[in-house]
């Protein structure tokens, strides 16, 4: 069980939205993690510096929260290691061919009412729910 955290999740979501608006206002870019990561892999985009900086800031954030508030961020990974690696490979291939993930399609694209993003988001949320149902309810969980 994980605790239902509507207020904290709403606050977190608001900050995610704020970062998307700021990145568009200053850099004119979609705050999509897939696009940002892809451009940092070889052949590396010539405009890589802001992307690397964005990633560095994102990685630093939980450390800073811990350092400033001594509030630990809840983290628990119930999935066995081999399945995390298999899941990672599948996610990598999927987001590349799907041209985006939760941040790019689910937040930025949906906010622009992009038909591609609406379709992509409906599909990946759907297959994620079906996958969890199959693993936990039909196969008895990994």
């Amino acid at each position: 069980m994980t605790e239902f955290t509507p207020l904290l999740s709403l606050l977190g979501g608001t900050l995610i939205g704020l970062s998307a608006v700021l990145l568009m206002a200053f850099h004119g870019r979609i705050a999509g993690m897939t696009g940002i990561l892809t451009s940092l892999l070889p052949p590396v985009s010539s405009d890589w510096a802001w992307r690397a900086a964005f990633i560095a800031g994102a990685i630093l954030a939980p450390m800073l929260i811990l350092g400033l508030t001594s509030q630990a961020i809840d983290y628990s990974s119930p999935v066995p290691a081999p399945w995390i690696v298999i899941g990672g490979l599948i996610v990598g291939v999927g987001v590349y061919f799907g041209s985006g993930c939760t941040s790019g399609h689910g937040v930025c694209g949906m906010a622009r009412l992009s038909p591609r993003s609406i379709v992509a988001t409906a599909i990946f949320l759907g297959t994620a729910m079906i996958t969890v149902f199959v693993i936990r309810r039909l196969l008895g969980g990994v």
């Binding site: 900050l15 939980p62 800073l64 990974s77 291939v93 599909i123 949320l125 994620a128």
Partner: protein, 146 residues
């Protein structure tokens, strides 16, 4: 380099949002998907909050001629609903449901120093790289034979 430093600060806001929201916690993400079981609807509030702020903010920002640090806005122009988008998104969802990680959730999770997050991100980067290499190779073959 104010433009780069600014991107780092915006990344910090993004990572803080992800960390507070629970998106960096695979157990919470998987429970959001587990509607028939230990359902935790929190992540609907993450998506809802992010969407409302972005939709309103974009209205104001995209009305301007150009962004502050760049000559123009870089917006996706592809409007086609193609097989690649549908299949790729379906595949992504399967991996998300297996692992409980999406790219935007996993990157800030690296800052928690958890080995499982690092293993996921490593595998995900291999996946993106392999898919992109395949795509570029196929495109090149098409150009050569044409």
């Amino acid at each position: 380099m104010p433009r780069t430093l600014l991107a780092a600060s915006i990344g910090l806001v993004f990572g803080t949002g992800i960390a507070l929201s629970g998106m960096a916690n695979p157990a919470k993400v998987l429970n959001f998907f587990d509607i028939a079981g230990a359902w935790d609807p929190s992540l609907a509030f993450v998506m809802g909050g992010a969407l409302i702020v972005t939709a309103i903010g974009y209205r104001f920002v995209l009305r301007r001629d150009k962004p502050v640090c760049e000559a123009k806005f870089h917006l996706p122009t592809n409007r086609k609903l193609d097989v690649q988008l549908v299949n790729g998104s379906a595949i992504f969802g399967i991996g998300w449901g297996i692992s409980g990680f999406c790219p935007g959730g996993a990157i800030p999770a690296l800052g928690l120093g958890e080995i499982s997050a690092w293993a996921f991100v490593g595998a995900m980067l291999v996946g993106i790289f392999a898919a992109r290499t395949l795509r570029l190779a196929l495109d090149q073959r098409v150009t050569q034979t044409a």
